[in-house]
Amino acid sequence: MIRIGDVLVSQGEGGVYNERMLGGARVWDPYRSKLSALYHVGTGVELTPVMRVLYLGAANGTTVSHVADYVEAVYAVEFAPRPMQDLLEVCRRRRNIIAIMADAARPEQYAPLVEAVDLLYQDVAQPDQAAIVLRNCVFLKPGGTVILMLKTRSVDVRKEPAEVFHDTIDSLISAGLAVKERVWLTPFHTDHAAIVCIKPEV
């Protein structure tokens, strides 16, 4: 990952969402992007120029644009029409983003489009986040990485965030994924956690 001093940046065309520029690079704000927050509080995974990424819950394309600066291709899945309008605008300006309008919980809708990927990144506000990851694991190469951004308040508002965190990790482990890192994203995002897993080589 590219850092200038303490600041995480990415190399690419600026002006996507009025982000700050630093020495010609785009500042990747940890308060706006949970993935950037993960690189500040933990290790995550090193993004490389040969990587292909499946990004579930792409929203307005803010984080997607930074990921696309680092990797070879990003398959960005988003369901809601309003953010999709913005995502398409980002997509038209970058050759390596494939924007797909579909429900991340139903991979059969976009299966004919998505190649095997090295990283599965998931940031959807759904109660069954772990199940959605598992359903999308077919796209992940053996040895590939899963990054799950857990919105504990979207899973169940009545449960304690820590409880949701442990339940999710348990269901990922019992599905055969190896959990490499688990970390809360405080102080950048409250009640949000990141879980990094590896799909075992067969």
């Binding site: 029409p81 398409l88 050759r95 494939i98 797909i100 309008m101 059969e108 004919p112 489009l113």
Partner: protein
């Protein structure tokens, strides 16, 4: 056989899909993939197939197809009849809030200029007060009051449009409680589809979230009505039967919303029976 966006692959042999940009979108949106036997597409296969020359062209073509498909989905989504009504009624409610807030602020300002002024014993409605303030104030204060009046005119126009649009989009629901309230119900539910999926008991207390959760958490009484209180047959009903009326009305609304979603035209038979049933409840208080 595996079906991909560029063609079908079977036993290592690939059949290229031939068709224009519309046909390929239709294909992408209609392929049914069985996830148990699914193998992700491979760009080298697409090259062998003749869909593209290299990796660069593969991504470029795929991107173009995906953008076109997404644009079509967005257009379809927005052309649903309820999409615009939703934004219209939300704007209307926001204008109401703005008018109230501004009127209050301007009144405070006006009171400073006229220390002897008081609204006690006068029964001045808010819009009359705004008019007085516009006429009797110089400079910015009068201008702001004028703008509030202007906004109120716009609000009236918009309210009429919302009502007319609701009569068209959700005819049955609108016939039971009026276009404006029907549109508000739909906006709270998040659209016509979500509204048609709600049970009657939820429609009855839609818009009374605070009271409902207070009831579920503490021992406070449960709310009898939410948005549907704005309908005259509910708020004009005698207090003893108000709960009954809103329950019966909500029951009929749930049916009406489903009729609106699945048929989209007014059903005179249903409406006639439903209206009589509601009116009977208002009159006699029968369940």
């Amino acid at each position: 056989m595996q079906s991909y966006w560029f063609g079908d692959v079977e036993d290592g042999r690939c059949t290229l899909f031939i068709g224009d940009s519309h046909a390929i979108i239709d294909r992408v949106q209609s392929i049914i993939t069985s996830m148990d036997t699914f193998v992700p597409p491979d760009w080298e296969q697409a090259v062998l197939c003749g869909a593209c020359r290299d990796r660069h062209e593969y991504l470029a073509r795929l991107q173009a197809v995906c953008i076109a498909a997404a644009e079509r989905s967005i257009r379809e989504h927005y052309s649903r009849k309820d999409a615009e009504l939703l934004q219209m009624v939300r704007t209307l409610d926001e204008i109401d809030t703005v008018i109230n807030l501004l009127s209050e602020k301007v009144a405070e300002w006006y009171f400073i200029r006229h220390p002897a002024f008081s609204r006690k014993y006068r029964r001045t409605p808010a819009h009359a007060l705004v008019k007085t303030m516009r006429e009797k104030s110089k400079g910015a204060l009068g201008k702001v009051a004028g703008e509030i009046e202007h906004l109120a005119t716009t609000r009236t126009v918009l309210a009429k449009e919302v009502s007319a649009r609701a009569n068209d989009v959700i005819p049955n629901t609108s016939a039971l409680i009026g276009g404006l309230v029907a549109a508000r119900l739909m906006s709270h539910a998040g659209g016509l589809l979500p509204l048609s999926r709600l049970p009657a008991s939820a429609i009855q207390v839609l818009g009374a979230r605070t009271a409902l959760f207070a009831h579920l958490k503490t021992r406070s009484p449960c709310p009898k009505h939410g948005i549907i209180f704005q309908h005259r047959r509910v708020h004009n009903a005698p207090k003893e039967v108000r709960g009954k009326v809103s329950r019966v009305l909500a029951g009929k609304l749930a049916i009406a919303a489903r009729l609106d979603f699945f048929r989209g035209v007014a059903e005179p038979d249903f409406l006639d029976k439903a209206q009589r049933r509601i009116d009977a409840t208002v009159k006699r208080g029968e369940p």
